[in-house]
Amino acid sequence: MTAFEHRQSAHCESGVMASLLTHAGLPMSEPMAFGLASGLAFAYLPIVKLGGMPLIAYRMPPRHLIKTLSKRLGVRLTSRTFSNPEQGRVALDAALDSGRLAGLQSSVFWLPYFPPEMRFHFNAHNLLAYGREGDEYLLSDPVFEEPVRCASADLQKARFAKGALAAKGLMYYLDDVSPDQDWERLIRQSVLSTSRILDGMPLPWIGIRGIQHLAKCVESLDPAQVKYNRLYLTHIVRMQEEIGTGGAGFRFMYASFLQEAGEKIGDTSLQEASSRLTAVGDDWRQFASACVRASRSKGEAPDFRPIAEMLRGIAGQERVLMKELGAWAKRKG
């Protein structure tokens, strides 16, 4: 068993999977893990409320990356949840003592090494445990620059925090990782799946229709409700930029995947798609800046139509791109 090497990642789940696979002998970058698991998405879910605001997601739901990537790579994934926290602790200790790396799902709020401003009740954070010393666990939290340490009582509280998306102590590890993969097939399969998620769901809240729906919601904000508008617009920005999106709601990370995939199988059309998605990512960032500008403005009522138009522009570009990628994936696959 070689020594574990911590790598900082932009997103927790893809970072944990990339580290687990690399450590097991299948070198994998974080964007590659994200892309091969078809992590990119968009969803506007008004029914699920976060602090009174609709859930806006730029990626697939938690645990999707872990499950999909293991399945596609033919890796044996063992994951366990625990109804009894004490059993969860014992199982983690046993896994670590036998020299395994264990992926853990936990709450952000109860992890003491997070800066206070970042600590919100988000239960689907992923991190890696690679050892323990005395009463402390040695953790590789993918969004941090360096490995961290965490007292066992704190980690226990974080793993078994209750509420939405409760982790129930979820612990997972990988076996039977084979370094020989049919990259061409994997890349086509995952790109096709992403193009279907973003453009092809018969629901108005998912994918590109979700972006258009969000545009409509932004447009119909009541200028009189200054405080609500401010919270709503910055809520969108927070969903897009905070903790592990790689900036611009995962668009840059996926563009990086397309580039790497294009190099891997020697197909320039993916590189071309990558640079166009980079441009879309830049538009998402412009959109975020515009949202913040509008919520900052004092005095005259802000005009939300240009902001909604920016979103429609983004939706249009992503639709064209996804149609082309879908056609590419089907052409030779």
Partner: protein
């Protein structure tokens, strides 16, 4: 986003840390690079934190005046809302709201207090003390 466009706005919300973002170099090649903050993001985070703090202060005053139980103030202090607190404690929202009434709160049993204590990471004794005294 190009490497030289990666924001370095020293946001306080990062707590001195940097996070990884992906950006392209001059030849259009992607690589991971660190960013120590982006102003629009920091503004959004601080606004959300300020909103919770304002709600907490309001609930705390109502608690001091004896109009509310401490639960509402603690709920905001630990960054929850009614839906989150209800989910974490496993109580219906209407029960949580009922427990915001001081007279009801004073009669809460130890087992119910224990649920709140676990949600906030406090001790039952502390919550029990609040049954008798105001802050």
């Amino acid at each position: 986003m190009k490497l030289d466009e990666v924001p370095q706005d020293h946001s306080s919300t990062y707590g001195g840390h940097s996070k990884l973002v992906y950006a392209v170099d001059a030849s259009g090649h992607y690589q991971g690079t660190q960013s120590d903050g982006w102003e629009p993001e920091a503004y959004s985070t601080l606004l959300a934190v300020a909103e919770l703090e304002a709600q907490e202060a309001e609930a705390r005053e109502a608690w001091q005046r004896g109009e509310l139980s401490p639960l509402k103030c603690l709920m905001y202090r630990y960054r929850m809302d009614e839906a989150a607190l209800s989910q974490i404690t496993g109580l219906w929202q209407w029960r949580v709201r009922r427990h915001f009434r001081p007279d009801i709160y004073r009669r809460l049993s130890t087992s119910l207090l224990a649920r709140y204590a676990e949600a906030f990471g406090l001790t039952v004794d502390e919550l029990r003390r609040y049954q008798r005294e105001l802050p």
